[in-house]
Assembly symmetry: C2
Homo-oligomer: 223 residues x 2
């Protein structure tokens, strides 16, 4: 029996372990600012509100600490990470470098189908920038396709961590008037270059995009 009938992948685990579901929920709470930066995460409170044991909660906290979303102070526990302006700048710089790299990989490795998907995603972003549709979700989908197509485990893992931290700021940076539309245009430039299979141009466009995002974000932070 040819295995390709089922697709080449070893079946992506339907029922996620409890630990991961909990991790996702807490992460979401942090990114939605239901848990604000600086707020303490008390283990017993989490066990109660999430309905899981302390052991599980602790593993979740380690996970989120590794992602940089929470900071643990020895003998004091975890709190939601609050980023300094200089941290934010560094994170944006790192994102610029690594996403440029991801885009390069995408050009090398992605198939026609994936390029089309990326185009569709950027169109969706543009549409949502004009008012209707959920902008955050559209952007998430864009990055999902990008990561899928660049086909690099290490890159994906690292960038995911960076993006999560950026989102700690994103609520503010996105609110800049007119920013969504410009962001959409910048991403379109990236996809244009990708379709032309021009890795250098795509990477450069990508760096430009992140730099602009960083500028509006830090402007809001310091202003």
């Amino acid at each position: 029996m040819r295995s390709s009938v089922w697709g080449s992948e070893p079946l992506p685990r339907v029922a996620a372990p409890l630990r991961e579901q909990v991790t996702d929920r807490v992460r979401a709470a942090i990114l939605d600012l239901r848990l604000k930066p600086g707020e303490r995460l008390i283990e017993r409170e989490l066990t109660e509100s999430l309905g899981v044991s302390r052991a599980t909660v602790r593993e979740v906290i380690r996970q989120l600490a590794a992602e940089g979303l929470v900071t643990v102070v020895p003998q004091r526990g975890a709190e939601v990470t609050s980023l300094s302006a200089s941290d934010a700048a560094d994170i944006y710089e790192m994102r610029a470098s690594l996403e440029a790299l991801a885009v390069r990989r995408f050009v090398q490795r992605a198939g026609e189908e994936q390029v089309r998907a990326l185009r569709a995603a950027v169109d969706e972003i543009a549409r949502s920038a004009d008012g209707d549709g959920d902008h955050l979700g559209a952007k998430d989908r864009f990055y999902e396709v990008l990561m899928e197509g660049s086909a690099s485990g290490p890159l994906q893992q690292t960038l995911a961590g960076l993006q999560a931290r950026v989102r700690l700021l994103r609520a503010t940076s996105l609110s800049a008037p007119g920013r969504p539309a410009r962001a959409a245009a910048e991403l379109r430039a990236v996809v244009d270059a990708i379709e032309a299979r021009d890795a250098d141009a795509a990477a450069e466009a990508c760096v430009l995009h992140i730099r602009h995002a960083a500028e509006t974000a830090t402007a809001q932070l310091t202003g």
Copy 2:
């Protein structure tokens, strides 16, 4: 009482939590190849050989998984990560980008004292390349100074993870004849540029260094 008497830092925690000591020991075992890539990490075995409880062992495993040193398969447990050639290439590429960034930050933020320390570290590397002294340790010290001087938490955390993974390969890549000496020369070029406070040149030299390291490493891997 002036706090500067004790140094400005908030005291780097002398008595590390047990969990961290254990993490360090397991990490060291992996990097020394006492635990080989692909080898399974069985929780009960670890509790016995390390003398700690299973809860602690599990937290340690999560930590190392986040660093990318071990891979956990749901319902099957953790094993030492084994990197594909393409993963290795991506990791080196990421390192090149991020270390270049770190070097730029160093130029911006480090003081005279730290530049001197970096110079000393690279001298030590050169000396150890000529036979005597421990090369790995010298390189570690170099990066320690670099990270300290670039003063960026996020960068430091991310790069530490990448470097750990590179070390999974390093045992092989370092054995290339003549490589240590050339590596020393390349790092010297980085420091030269730093001393001249030329961030662009320093970053470029840094990228060059990592590229060369990547080449010899992948040559060994595929050969």
